[in-house]
């Protein structure tokens, strides 16, 4: 079989987690954890588990990219390690750093014990010899401060590593990720290569597409695009998150959101905003959509004054349409 060269074959999947038995099972489990998704998303998780490849998730903001990683962690009962990316993120914050303070103390301690170590040494050469024999732990695991990426590799039973908004980071950081993503190992110059423990982490990367991710990174990942869901799926999502909402209101508000997404807006309302809105309406004891109540709560779903102004005159029509639609 191809791919012998890959370091991945070194990891034997001794037993498959019962959850990952089939795509349908993954989907069902995700739904049990209140993450309603399409087959495509379930397939992605299934493949990521079996091929041990990172998933790069793209899509408009608020469609549940980060949520998927969180739910997967919950589902597989693994710890979630999260790394939020931002401009200027570097290896000292993402990978590891030396505990400089402790190293400083160590050198001071060393200085005090130096006399004992060197006691009776004749000449410079012998002193240096003794110093070498003393053993140097200045650069050793003890003084290593593990940051999220290294922490994820050291996790004994595997974990879910979420690298959030990777498009916000710099190009250099992306290159830093390559080694981890393809071989689940990092090289620390002073120590050597640190490999993942028995089970490598399941890695999720999310991107809002503010810039193109490099080909090298994409090549190492499965690529999942999550679009806005269709009406039926979104209704199920709202139902899963807020089961107490009346059916009629749920149908109407989801249709209304879908009408909004058709318009030319600066920022279309996302799923998370649909859910917020549903909560709001529930709180206001609304049992169906009416223009007045929509007008009062529109700022929950639209986040730009410009958008609110352009939608305002349309509210009555859109509400009517959402109520009437079959």
């Amino acid at each position: 079989m191809p791919r012998e060269s890959s370091a991945l074959t070194a990891y034997h999947m001794t037993e498959t987690h019962p959850i990952a038995a089939s795509v349908a099972e993954v989907r069902k489990q995700l739904e049990d954890h209140r993450y309603i998704c399409s087959d495509q998303i379930a397939t992605a998780v299934y493949l990521a588990y079996h091929l041990r490849k990172p998933i790069l998730i793209e899509g408009p903001p608020g469609v549940g990219k980060t949520e998927l990683a969180k739910t997967a962690a919950e589902m597989f009962d693994l710890p979630l390690i999260r790394l939020q990316c931002y401009e200027g993120l570097d290896e000292a914050k993402a990978l590891y750093e030396w505990k400089y303070g402790k190293q400083l103390l160590y050198t001071q301690v060393l200085k005090q014990t130096l006399d004992e170590v060197l006691q009776g040494a004749k000449g410079f050469a012998e002193s240096v010899q003794r110093l070498h024999e003393f053993g140097d732990i200045f650069f050793s695991e003890e003084f290593l401060e593990a940051r999220p990426l290294l922490k994820a590799l050291k996790e004994e039973n595997g974990c879910v590593l979420l690298i959030d908004e990777v498009d916000k980071s710099d190009q250099e950081f992306e290159s830093l990720l390559l080694e981890i993503l393809s071989d689940y190992q990092v090289s620390i110059p002073e120590i050597g290569t640190v490999k993942a423990k028995r089970t490598p982490p399941i890695v999720f990367l999310t991107s809002n597409n503010t810039r193109e991710i490099s080909d090298a990174l994409k090549r190492r990942c499965l690529h999942l695009y999550i679009p806005f869901p269709d009406v039926e799926l979104e209704q199920r999502i709202v139902h899963a998150r807020i089961p107490e909402i009346p059916d009629r209101l749920r149908t109407q508000l989801v249709r209304f959101i879908h009408e909004l997404r058709e318009l030319d807006l600066k920022k279309a309302p996302s799923i998370s905003e649909t859910i917020d809105w549903a909560r709001t309406l529930l709180l206001l004891h609304a049992d169906r959509l009416e223009p007045d109540i929509v007008r009062n709560t529109i700022n929950v779903i639209l986040k730009f004054q410009e958008d609110i102004e352009s939608v305002e005159p349309e509210i009555a029509r859109l509400t009517q349409k959402a109520v009437d639609a079959r």
């Binding site: 087959d39 397939t43 992605a44 091929l51 190492r220 990942c221 499965l222």
Partner: protein
């Protein structure tokens, strides 16, 4: 099955989806994991592994359907000229199956299906089930046996033998069809048919006629096969040839009907540049310690310096002022340069465009409000058509926005510098030159034509940082790539 998958990947690559070898291996592993039985699952799995952008995913979807539908059709459909005559029940069974098969198959199969069914009644009237052994040539025997699967396999084999995957442009379709037929033994069949038809015996003549009919059907079949292979393997190779040509042809010599292709090409070039340059860079001045920051960051270690910080600089995006001559002779070049610059919006967010012939005007706003094509058409309509006056253009430009031009701006002048012997106002150009970071003059004429007649290149080039010939897309691409690179 591995071959199928690698073939599919080849087809994807032909459709301009970039797939690396590593990804091919991933695809194989994925297919092994999910199996080939469930097509929907296979498709959604592969769509996670192979295409890595949204555009690619769309291409992948159509390509997958096309490819696997085509493959499925062949074995299922049996050539049922025999079947209908043999047993009615069998034919009935076949009916719906074929219907669904054709539905997924696409047009090529649909048409040939109908020709066969049309011809069937005549075969039934003749009421002579042709005996395969009556034909002497192997191809004739096979045709008379009429097993469609067998014929399909033969066509495939012959196709491979003549190297159908190397087909490049559509004019080669005929050649490849003929080669495949010949490889299958058409010549023998041909001579057999003419022999039979010349025979005195009416049964022989009828047999010859029947063979001829089946030969024509085979021809259709082969043509459809070549057509399909062409779509899979070649359309793109042909396009590559065309693209290469278009890149090097002079833009003014461009045919109207190629314009769409060129615009498409420009967009693709721009996309590539964006992919390469979209991240903002810092240049690190390695070796120059940022002393204050280093001291500040190391205070927590009792001023022992562990953590070094180097001087770095965020590279600013350039401001681009594009001044385009849109008079008759140069307007075509202006069109493509503006298309190019505005396709690069992600990398060059601050482009201001000016158009002039006799008078200069800013067209930036029109580009912001309208789609690209329309904005360009508007600019050409509004400012084109006059006699070129560079002097006036410099003066108006200076009056409009000399204050906005600074060290970080690049001024691009596109024009042939033919000023109809008017006043050039060189002192104004000099002012612009001194103020801006770079002033680049792009001349669509070949260098040998510069300084001939009323061309003023010699005079204007004194006040330019760079003068370039820019008559083909290749020139334009090189220039723009340079522009983006020096500024990132």
């Amino acid at each position: 099955m591995h071959r199928v998958l690698t073939n599919f990947i080849q087809a994807l690559r032909n459709a301009d989806v970039r797939i690396s070898t590593a990804e091919t291996l991933d695809a194989l592993r994925t297919a092994e994991l999910v199996g080939y039985a469930d097509k929907a699952l296979l498709k959604s799995s592969l769509s996670l592994v192979l295409p890595k952008t949204l555009d690619d995913k769309a291409i992948f979807d159509t390509c997958f359907d096309q490819f696997f539908a085509a493959r499925e059709n062949k074995p299922i459909e049996a050539f049922d000229a025999e079947g209908t005559q043999g047993s009615q029940g069998n034919a009935n069974e076949e009916g719906p199956k074929q219907g669904s098969g054709t539905g997924a198959g696409g047009r090529a199969h649909g048409t040939e299906e109908s020709t066969i069914t049309e011809q069937q009644p005549s075969a039934a009237v003749a009421n002579t089930p042709p005996d395969p052994s009556s034909a002497s040539s192997p191809l004739g025997q096979m045709l008379l046996r009429g097993n469609r699967v067998e014929i399909g396999v033969e066509i495939n084999n012959a196709g491979r033998q003549v190297g159908i995957e190397r087909i490049e442009i559509f004019t080669q379709k005929g050649v490849y069809s003929r080669r495949i037929l010949e490889a299958m033994g058409l010549l023998d069949l041909q001579s057999e048919i003419s022999e039979l038809e010349a025979s005195a015996d009416p049964t022989d003549r009828r047999r010859g006629h029947e063979l001829g009919r089946r030969r024509d059907w085979l021809r259709e079949e082969v043509r459809a096969y070549v057509e399909q292979q062409f779509l899979l393997h070649a359309d793109v190779a042909g396009r590559r040839v065309r693209d290469d040509l278009l890149r090097t042809v002079r833009l003014s010599a461009l045919d109207q009907r190629h314009r769409r292709h060129v615009e498409d090409l420009v967009r693709r070039m721009a996309r590539r540049l964006i992919a390469n340059h979209s991240h903002r860079r810092r240049t690190f001045k390695r070796g120059q310690l940022h002393v204050p920051r280093t001291l500040r960051r190391n205070m927590k270690y009792d001023d022992a310096i562990f953590d070094l910080h180097w001087k770095s600089e965020k590279v600013a995006r350039p401001k681009v002022f594009a001044i385009c001559d849109v008079s008759g002779s140069v307007s075509e070049y202006a069109r493509f340069m503006l298309t190019f610059l505005y396709s690069l919006e992600e990398v060059l967010p601050k482009v201001r465009a000016f158009a002039f012939s006799s008078h200069l005007g800013e067209v930036t706003e029109s580009f912001e409000d309208n789609p690209l094509e329309r904005a360009i058409a508007l600019a050409l309509a509004e400012h084109g058509g006059g006699a070129t006056d560079y002097g006036q253009a410099f003066v108006t430009f200076a009056a409009l926005c000399l204050d906005d031009v600074d060290r970080r701006s690049t001024v691009i002048l596109l024009g042939d510098a033919r000023n109809n012997n008017g006043d050039l106002q060189l002192d104004v150009l000099k002012k612009i030159y001194e103020r801006c970071g770079r002033l680049i003059w792009l001349n669509p004429e070949p260098r040998s034509m510069w300084n001939t007649g009323d061309s003023e290149m010699r005079h204007v080039s004194v006040y330019c940082h760079q003068v370039e010939e820019c008559s083909t897309l290749a020139h334009l691409e090189r220039f723009v790539a340079h522009l983006v690179r020096t500024h990132r």
